[in-house]
């Protein structure tokens, strides 16, 4: 049976709630309505209002309350209705959640789920891919699954993790990606990248929805005799440097691909790690393919021009392969 990305996340959450009575959900419209994207549909019916809490429109209080509940031994899973609204909870995340363990040895085992990304004509405030802010905040873990299998395994790992995890779910994948996933309980380790496709000539380091763009391009250039290796980071923090460097040492050519805007995006970090630690292996410049430095525009032709896609990646792949 095929499982979609959204079903995979839902399954993961519900299984964890079944397994551990301390797991509970809070967020806007997650109960009666089942969430803006129906990720938590059925949770209220199954676990009741005690464990599935519809909150006021208060992102800061949602995250704050999650932190406080976690101090008391619970394992809260908070939903931001859109990743774009996570800015409203920013201080709670980067200053409260991220620093408690370091400062006074108080773990903050919370998950903040954030539906992110473009491609659904959501415009500037319903399309953001803002993981880089959090990846630059020590104390947070940052997870962005690209497949249904990983989505389920990672949400379960996130819920069991004893540190605050920002879990970015790509909205455009919710119902687009469907695949066979292992039955029942399994986790995918936070901090381990996956080789999404094994290749020889050039490495694409990417994550989230862009993994599928890379896969598309890999098919195309395979016919031209170029063998792409795709590293799906899955988590930005902790960063799986070893897997990335191993791939780079093998192929000697790298393109970093992400949907977030370029300047200050996480791509820079990836390039810097590679440039510092595998410099002698590089047979060409490390390139980035990203969205340009603009807000996410709404109108379809503008949004299409904004989002990285197969064509944009293809051009760079061919160029670098020929370098």
């Amino acid at each position: 049976m095929l499982t979609s990305y959204v079903e995979a996340i839902r399954e993961g959450i519900l299984e964890e709630m079944e397994r551990d009575p301390n797991v509970f959900l809070l967020g806007e419209d997650i109960g009666v309505y089942g969430g803006a994207f129906k990720v938590t549909a059925g949770a209220l019916e199954r676990f009741g209002a005690r464990r599935v809490i519809d909150t006021p429109i208060s992102e800061s209080a949602i995250v704050g309350a999650a932190i406080g509940a976690s101090f008391m031994g619970l394992r809260p899973v908070a939903e931001m209705q859109f990743a774009d609204f996570i800015s409203c909870a920013f201080d709670q995340i980067v200053n409260f959640a991220a620093k408690c363990r370091y400062r006074w040895n108080a773990p903050v085992p919370i998950v903040v789920r954030a539906p992110c990304g473009g491609g659904i004509h959501g415009g500037p405030f319903h399309s953001q891919q803002n993981e880089a802010w959090f990846a630059h905040t020590p104390g947070l873990k940052v997870v962005l699954p690209a497949t249904a299998r990983d989505a389920k395994g990672l949400i379960k790992a996130a819920i069991r993790d004893n540190d605050p995890v920002i879990f970015f779910e790509h909205k455009a994948l919710y119902r687009k990606i469907k695949e066979e996933i292992p039955p029942g309980d399994y986790t995918v380790p936070i901090g381990k990248a996956a080789i999404h496709r094994v290749g020889r000539d050039l490495t694409i380091v990417t994550y989230s929805a862009m993994v599928h763009v890379a896969a598309q391009v890999a098919e195309i250039v395979a016919r031209e005799g170029i063998s792409l290796e795709i590293v799906d980071l899955r988590t930005l923090v902790p960063f799986d440097e070893a897997t990335v460097l191993e791939s780079v040492r093998k192929t000697s050519k790298v393109i970093v691909l992400h949907e977030a805007t370029m300047t200050g995006g996480f791509g820079g970090e990836i390039v810097a790690r590679i440039t510092e630690k595998a410099f002698e292996y590089l047979d060409g410049p490390v390139l980035r393919v990203t969205a340009p430095d603009t807000p996410v525009p709404y109108s379809p032709p503008l949004e299409a021009a904004f989002l990285p896609d197969a064509d944009k990646l293809l051009a760079k792949v061919r160029w670098l392969a020929a370098y």
């Binding site: 806007e28 419209d29 009666v32 309505y33 803006a36 519809d54 909150t55 006021p56 429109i57 208060s58 800061s60 209080a61 859109f82 774009d84 609204f85 800015s87 409203c88 659904i120 004509h121 959501g122 415009g123 500037p124 405030f125 319903h126 340009p292 430095d293 603009t294 807000p295 525009p297 709404y298 109108s299 379809p300 032709p301 503008l302 299409a304 021009a305 904004f306």
Partner: protein, 337 residues
Amino acid sequence: MPVAKPEPARKNAFQSTDAELSRKFLYYMALMREVEERIERRLYRQGKVLGGVYVGRGQEAIPVGSGLAARPDDIFFPSHRDLALYFIRGVTPKQVFAQYMGRRDGLTQGRDGNMHMGDLSKGLVAIISAMAASVPVAAGAAMALKYQGKDSVVFVYFGDGATSRGDWHEGINLATVQKAPLVLVCNNNQYAYSTPLDKQMACANVADRAPGYGMPAEIVDGNDVWAIYEAAKRAAAHARAGLGPYLIECKTFRMTGHSAHDPADYVPKDLFQKWSQRCPIQQLEKRMLDNSWASRQEIDALHQQIKQEVDQAIEQAEQSPYPDPSELLLRVYENEA
């Protein structure tokens, strides 16, 4: 070619007779209703409007009553169910349709969608999505008017749910401390998306919060455009007199889902039933007829005229081109064309 009926917009509401004013109310309320009907029930379903669609069906009295109580030099910060404010300020239905369809003639030229639009030259400030984020911004605009020695005031709009946001609190608190000329208009439609009022706040009324900011508040029937108009006049006079912010809570109901894709199954059916009896447009029409401010024929003709106007506007908007991908990088900063 009769595009809209421009007079109601132009003429100074302050000098109108009751009959004239009631016709203006009706015009803008019916125009808002018609434009939003087309967007929500046609263009969206036809796939011509993508992304989120939020309408103010059943709440039209709020932007219309308050918007017409404002002076032309007052500033509006509409929320997402206040479309009539745009028409009152001279934005055309064509521009609105073009906006929703992501075309060049929309107020944001395709860069943003739906109600996320503004035009400073018309005193219209675009919301961002984050609920209540406009409140501190409106507070600052009001502080600026005072700074400049003007006697204009700022009207800021928000829903019941938005009052839960920290920005709502911070913005009002700053505005009241600064005695900024700010009129706060709450549409309390009893739901925030699927969340009913009692899951949003533990007090009975948004107005119960006003004493905590040392400001006056009144609760009005949100489906009675005249009541809102009168309240807004009082509020604006208070603010204009240098007495600081004033809150109007309009009790109403959202006669639709949260957005076009939401069937609102969570709303008890009888609530829709009950509130449909209180349609602000029908109530206004009844009052107009009762007071002989207009005849049935005149009213029907107005609706007819609006339908035509709207048909035409859609046609024109559909001819508006999409923005060109080459525009993508422009105008992130100044001097980038």
